[in-house]
């Protein structure tokens, strides 16, 4: 009797809750160790470096007009690019999962190219395409539209690198949606648009948000593909990562780490916000 209550007590105190499936301690320890080594440790170095500036110094870096402009450029355009990717990515994923057509697998493979390509290659290719004498740049120039070496160029490059994130996160969920759901919606009198809005989109909303977050995060940190097409004019088309390089080249290490820390903070805040929205949408729409 007393022995059994003791066991119960010990079970109640033990962390984690005892399970017949072993391996929590080992995997949890490994995760902590690796996360620390690979992510937290380097990032803490960054914060320590920046702390030499102090909060006032950090603020000083942030309000420097050129830095503020670059941060705005980076975050706003990344946000816009991720938003565009959500739309295109969803349509692409839809086509790839829902329809059988010749060349489907080929198209499916192409989606991953922005992942695989060295970003500089993408940047050079895009710059050549959109340059005033390029295949697309030349006809567009006739309408007075300039893409390369403007902010639009940055947007084009970021849309390019972010696309696979949305497609690949949404695809498995789309594949899971039963066609019968759409048919049921139709027999109940719903129009096609209504079916898409009320039946198809809600279950994939969490995945869309994840895709958005990934594309956004990637875009904020993107460097290689952007610098070739952006033109890099200070105050106009200069992205924050480029400015860090510029500062480093001028041996302004404090300024460089300052910008980096500010980027880190903003990125973290945005991703956290997206994660919270996602948790909410999971609770709202994720009943499986």
């Amino acid at each position: 009797m007393s022995a059994s209550t003791q066991i119960v007590k010990r079970k109640a105190r033990s962390f984690p809750a005892p399970s017949v499936i072993p391996g929590f301690r080992a995997t949890f320890g490994f995760t902590l160790f690796y996360l620390s080594l690979v992510v937290l440790f380097p990032l803490s170095m960054l914060v320590i470096r920046a702390s030499e500036l102090g909060l006032a110094g950090l603020y000083g870096v942030a309000v420097e007009p050129r830095v503020a402009a670059a941060l705005r450029t980076s975050f706003f355009i990344s946000f816009a690019a991720a938003a565009i990717d959500v739309v295109f990515g969803l349509v692409t994923a839809w086509v790839l999962t829902r329809y059988e057509f010749p060349g489907r697998r080929f198209l499916d493979a192409i989606v991953d190219l922005p992942f695989a390509l060295p970003t500089a290659v993408a940047g050079i290719a895009l710059a050549a395409l959109y340059a005033p004498n390029g295949w697309l740049g030349e006809p567009l120039a006739d309408y007075d539209i300039k893409i390369a070496f403007t902010r639009w160029g940055i947007l084009v490059a970021l849309v390019f690198v972010g696309l696979p994130f949305v497609v690949r996160t949404v695809q498995p969920l789309l594949a899971e949606i039963d066609v019968e759901l759409e048919e049921a919606s139709a027999t109940l009198g719903a129009s096609r648009a209504h079916t898409v809005w009320r039946v198809l989109l809600p279950p994939i909303l969490p995945a869309l948000l994840t895709g958005f977050a990934l594309a956004f995060a990637r875009s904020v940190g993107e460097y290689g593909s952007v610098i070739f097409i952006a033109g890099n004019l200070a105050y106009i088309s200069e992205i924050a990562p480029l400015l860090i390089i510029v500062k480093l080249e001028q041996f302004d290490y404090a300024g460089a780490t300052g910008i980096a820390t500010i980027m880190l903070a903003i990125s973290f805040a945005v991703l956290l916000a997206i994660n919270l929205i996602q948790a909410w949408s999971q609770k709202r729409f994720g009943h499986v």
Binding site: G189, A190, P202
Partner: protein, 357 residues
Amino acid sequence: MEIRIEGVEKDFGDYPALRAVDLTIARGELVALLGPSGSGKTTLLRAIAGLSNPDRGRILFDSEDATTLSVQERRVGFVFQNYALFKHLTVADNIAYGLKVRPRRTRPSRAEIAERAARLLEFVQLDGLGARYPAQLSGGQRQRVALARALAIEPRVLLLDEPFGALDARVRKDLRRWLRDVHRQTGLTTVFVTHDQDEAMELADRVVVLDKGRIEQIGTPDELYDRPASPFVLSFVGEALALPVQVADGKVIFQGKELHVSSENLRNGPARVYFRPADIALHGGQIGALEGRVEAVRRTAAGLRASISIPGYDQTVEVDTDDRVGTTLGSSVPLSLNNVRIFSTAAEETLGDGAGI
């Protein structure tokens, strides 16, 4: 509403899924489409609903040609085998879905929608579960939600695709009885698809037996049991045994001996004699044309059950008897057949009824 199907055909590539289907379903009737998988029964149901279009032929709702109507315009209540409930909506929202999607002109007020959803929940005996999500319900409950959702739009016909297919046996039985009640209370013309002949026989006013995209027979359960139109119907509806025989000049020959069954209108050549397991019996008298060997005898509550092998026939038949002496192991026993039906193997069409040996 009356459903009239005229010469409907549908091909899936080279495979003819429906061939020359003619069928009229009367107003308020409860009809089962029965057949093995691949027989075209679900295809036919989906064609009625407008979820797939027939390649040829037309479907009429009363006198209106429904073939040209879209799924939405047909206003049919369709219940899917796997329920197809919207997982992200509550039970009440699922039921109200068909009302909420209506254009503003015809959409009932919010309060009215809520009230109708509540009434339907009560109707399907799920009152109080409106706030739950489908994932929190059992299979039988989900099926009832699916039915309530289909009824919410006040459908002109109710179509059910294997409505009880995914449920366990006990729930099936309950839901069957319940569906009968629903049909009686709503008076809706109802068509359901099943591969389970018991289900079809128990529920339906009339059963349509399909095989390989063709209608094999349309009839009441009695007609299907007592006057099956083809060997397929005979063996699909209930158990049947078949003896391979030869027909020659009006005589039916099995293993070189004549079976005394009527063979009117039978063509010469190979044929089969079909009978139900209950229609074979030990024959008290002398050895007749058909005899078997007693392979095993078991005691049952009522008497004895003997397994008997018939020379020239590869299955043993089970015969109930109370004759302990006549059924010693290994002995030869005379057998009699009642209610046999003979079908020519070549043409597979009904040709003669037999009245016994």
